[in-house]
Symmetry: C2
Subunit: 336 residues, 2 copies
DNA sequence: TTGTAAGCGTTATCAA
DNA sequence: TTGATAACGCTTACAA
């Protein structure tokens, strides 16, 4: 493998000059620049990023830890950060923590050892304290995190509260008043926000809250499925089910169809996320779009600024993206 | 950041000794070993893999290029290589070429520059010649590649031919004789194998081949959908549709349901792959399982042997994994 | 504008 | 079993 040294010798210039043309820094006579390019071509020179990384202490790698791979929401978000990262010449190490704190910690360690320049954590399990410490050693962006606890941390998220409000609005617009809600885990701000929105929305419409219509899943298809089976055993069935994410909504659909009810004629189903799969199932899922890809893009942009040592003003440290409703086939007028 | 040098000073031993305990090489007095551990803890030592990589010329990183992220088949396969890689202390850079030769080439270059120790390419677009050259510079494993062209290349794949044979057997067992086949791209050995199996299977059963029952998709849901819409315009409809992969089968299901036909009562649908989604849709998809995860595991194992400089005997250089049928809800007896 | 030399944090070699 | 020293391939002062 040819090195810069070889190239320098071949081109009859010095080491520093080669380095300069490689990095577009300093100024080098165009004549010499040409000579360098020729020499590189002739020798089949391959740039060694490892050496550069050692010297500059920057690898152009970042780490991205996602909580689940089974839920397409995260891969779609990850795509956003990867595309954006690639544009800026960064490569991303993707790790899946399976929502386990221990795994998350291990991956963080491994990534630091690999020398990533920065980290993006989606729905981290780590304690506030750990994240604060991590943030001191390396630029960090966290998704769906309660930044009121620490204004310093860079955060990005979607507006879970608004998502549910929008969902409830749509459902109410179709005349639904017996609306069940499949909540997700209550561990993140968006989880809490969604729940609060459900309650507020009922209240705003003077709909009596029925505890039996509020059920809990863990964002998996399976949980949506089994929790809906419970719902279907109720004396008075809901006319609509809103799930805190699409995966659970699709589990709900399956449970409903398995019981022989028709969607949406007999029961309407609505999700939140707008994952790709939602378009493909039958009936196609009506949902609230969360701009996952854009969240990913924003996360990387924020990280990039931190990496560049920019001082990000307080009002730009926390990004929240808006949701919007996507009507397809799984919601229609309530039967009376 | 504390370095080995700092640790050595703190522990009162030499650089080499610290390196030896770090790598479990050479022999070091257990007393000194303890001192080193203590010093590391005290100083909060973090191992710098970049430096190690520069010196040893091995990064413990590998590159994995997949042709599509929209088809869950590849992420599931990727998971197999990642899990196995992780076990051996390797990290993987995952890249998605979108089936574009140009992108594939760019990623290969980028990965080499990042200093990956080896590469795994799924359904590569690169020419035989390029792969051969690549293989000389770095250990390489390719998936679904016609190794008869080059016995040297390490390959791994599933048996596409057998998959279709098994599918046709199941369908025939349910009395189907008007079986349409949605073929995928003909660019890989498995693509060819599937097609051949369809033809052979018809012939073996004395079923007349109807050209209008053979249609072509590109492995996407959309292609399965639109091609099935064509199929449904035919004078005599098929009683069963076999698709070369699950994504197309699910597109077919949607097209059929959109036209108001019932699955499987009126038309049976069958896929190949057994991706996670297939369990979740309604009706659940009957399919031929391809051991994606295991393919991933095997690919890494093969790569690892090459990385270790083992001389792999000719009969172990090419791994083909078997498929098996998974019956769910989308296939039943043919209507007569 | 160019050349020289030191240094990044490891590992490997060789002598003690 | 240990210590000293060179080397990996690049970047970056600083001097020319």
């Amino acid at each position: 493998m040819a090195t810069v040294k070889d190239v320098a010798r071949e081109a009859g210039v010095s080491l520093g000059t080669v380095s300069n043309v490689l990095n577009g820094k300093g100024s080098v006579k165009s004549q010499n620049r040409e000579k360098v390019y020729e020499a590189m071509k002739k020798l089949g020179f391959h740039y060694n990023m490892t050496a550069s990384a050692l010297r500059t202490k920057t690898t152009k790698n970042i780490g991205l830890i996602i909580p689940s791979i089974a839920n397409p929401f995260y891969p779609e978000l990850a795509r956003g950060v990867e595309d954006e990262a690639r544009k800026e010449g960064f490569t991303v190490f993707l790790c899946n923590s399976d929502r386990e704190e221990e795994k998350e910690r291990k991956y963080i360690d491994a990534l630091l050892s690999k020398g990533v320049d920065g980290l993006i954590l989606l729905k981290p399990k780590s304690s506030h304290e750990e994240l604060r410490k991590l943030n001191e050693s390396r630029p960090l962006v966290v998704e769906d995190w309660d930044y009121r606890e620490d204004q310093e941390l860079l955060t990005v998220s979607t507006d879970g509260y608004m998502a549910v409000i929008q969902g409830m609005n749509l459902l109410a617009g179709y005349g639904h008043r017996r609306i069940a809600f499949i909540s997700g885990l209550m561990e993140s701000p968006s989880g809490h926000g969604k729940m609060k929105a459900y309650m507020n929305s009922l209240e705003a419409r003077n709909i009596r809250f029925r505890p039996e219509y509020l059920v809990y899943g863990d964002y998996t298809w399976n949980s949506g499925y089994s929790v809906t089976k419970e719902l279907l055993r109720l004396e008075t069935l809901p006319t609509a089910i809103l799930a805190a994410n699409d995966m659970m909504a699709m589990g709900a659909m399956k449970a409903i169809q398995a019981k022989g009810y028709r969607i949406p004629e007999e029961i309407s189903v609505m999700g939140i996320d707008d994952i790709e799969m939602g378009k493909l199932c039958t009936p196609a899922l009506t949902t609230i779009l969360q701009p996952k890809y854009e969240v990913g893009v924003s996360a990387f942009c924020l990280l990039k600024q931190a990496l560049d040592g920019e001082n990000i003003p307080a009002d730009k440290r926390h990004i929240t993206l808006n949701t919007r409703t996507v009507e397809r086939e799984s919601v229609t007028y309530a039967q009376v």
